[in-house]
């Protein structure tokens, strides 16, 4: 314990009321100065910076969102283009196939008809040849029959021989 100049005996300087006016005077000044610093300069400035920052962040996010949408659209357009191209290619392939098939069909048909024509001609020739061969055979048969009959001493008229050879030949044809 010590005796203060004003005579009050104090253990705690906090309770020395003689110093209160001094403390309060300087405290009020300090608080007013801090209040002025904060309310005039610091807080508006920091508030502005924070607002600007959150504004920038919001804008950036919006821009990013927009770009994302655009990218999605671009992707969709690309896919669309790809699908279109694919469809177009398929169409071209189909058309080419159809054309080729048509040409081929025409060619095959032509070849078939040519083959048929040739076959017909050949058959006709074969028929001619066969007919002429038959005629020749009948003539030879007739001559031979006449010769054989005359050699055997019997005379037959040519009409009978003709009929017999014809009958024989047609039987032979049938056989």
């Amino acid at each position: 314990m010590e005796t203060e100049p004003n005579g009050a005996e104090t253990g705690m300087p906090q309770l020395d009321f003689a110093t209160f006016p001094n403390q309060l005077f300087w405290l009020v000044i300090a608080l007013v100065v801090i209040y002025l610093i904060l309310s005039r300069v610091a807080l508006p400035r920091i508030g502005t910076v924070l607002a600007e920052r959150s504004g920038t962040i919001t804008n950036d996010l919006a821009a990013a969102e927009e770009l994302k949408t655009k990218a999605a659209e671009a992707e969709k357009a690309y896919e669309q283009a790809l699908a279109d191209a694919r469809a177009e290619a398929n169409k071209i392939i189909d058309r080419a196939k159809a054309e080729m098939r048509a040409e081929l069909d025409v060619a095959i048909a032509k070849a078939d008809s040519e083959i048929a024509a040739k076959q017909e001609e050949s058959e006709k020739r074969i028929a001619e040849i066969r007919a002429s061969a038959q005629d020749t055979v009948q003539e030879v048969a007739r001559d031979t029959t006449a010769a054989v009959l005359s050699a055997m001493g019997s005379e037959a008229d040519s009409a009978t021989i003709d009929a017999a050879v014809k009958a024989r030949a047609s039987r032979g044809d049938a056989a």
């Binding site: 906090q14 005077f25 300087w26 405290l27 100065v33 209040y35 904060l38």
Partner: protein
Amino acid sequence: MAEEIGFVIEPMEQFEVTPLFGGEAVHWYTPTNVTLWLALTVLSVALLMVAASRGRALVPSRVQSMAELTYGFVHQMIEDVTGKDGVRYFPYIMTIFVFILFANLLGLIPWAFTTTSHIAVTAFLALAVFLTVTALGFVLHGLSFLKMFWIEAAPLALRPALAIIELISYFVRPVSHSIRLAGNMMAGHAVLKVFAGFAGALGVASVVPIAGLVAMYAFELLVAVIQAYVFTILTCVYLKDALHPHH
């Protein structure tokens, strides 16, 4: 001074208000150690809140983001406790918070004078809050502000008793508000001083009090911040009562 040779610990000496430039008399205008440490407090506030935010950078520097964190912390606290309409009083509450925070922290510098360890300072702050908030309650709500003490949720018979209790607790607010802060600061610093006194007197064995001193100092650092927070959030709570007296 009562410094004698030998083992003398004067834990309360650090709280004495002494004139800066010699002399004994402490008039209301005398520049004292109170003046010096209040000035340093103001300077620290200016450094953190003004100088650090000078860059106005979109991407903040470290000090700028400290200033922004302090701003956001108090702003959020007011909004959480009092609601949107309390934000009008942001500069006042911010003043209280940064003042107490820096006064507490600066007081932890060795040989410093802790302005907030004095009941004169904390009582002034608490009374200022109390009177402002009470006046605000009457200005905003007129006499219906008094309904705060008339608990309508309680049974009618209990209401007078509750009103008396509420009234007493309302008037005790500035007392607890101020003594909590000054008491915490004073006790912590006195204990630190006691440990330091032992450290000087014990020779080799003083490792023990020095270890204690370090632990105590860390604890006091925590207390310095927490008490600033507590004082501020109680201010917000009282402000809320003035803004919305009818729950």
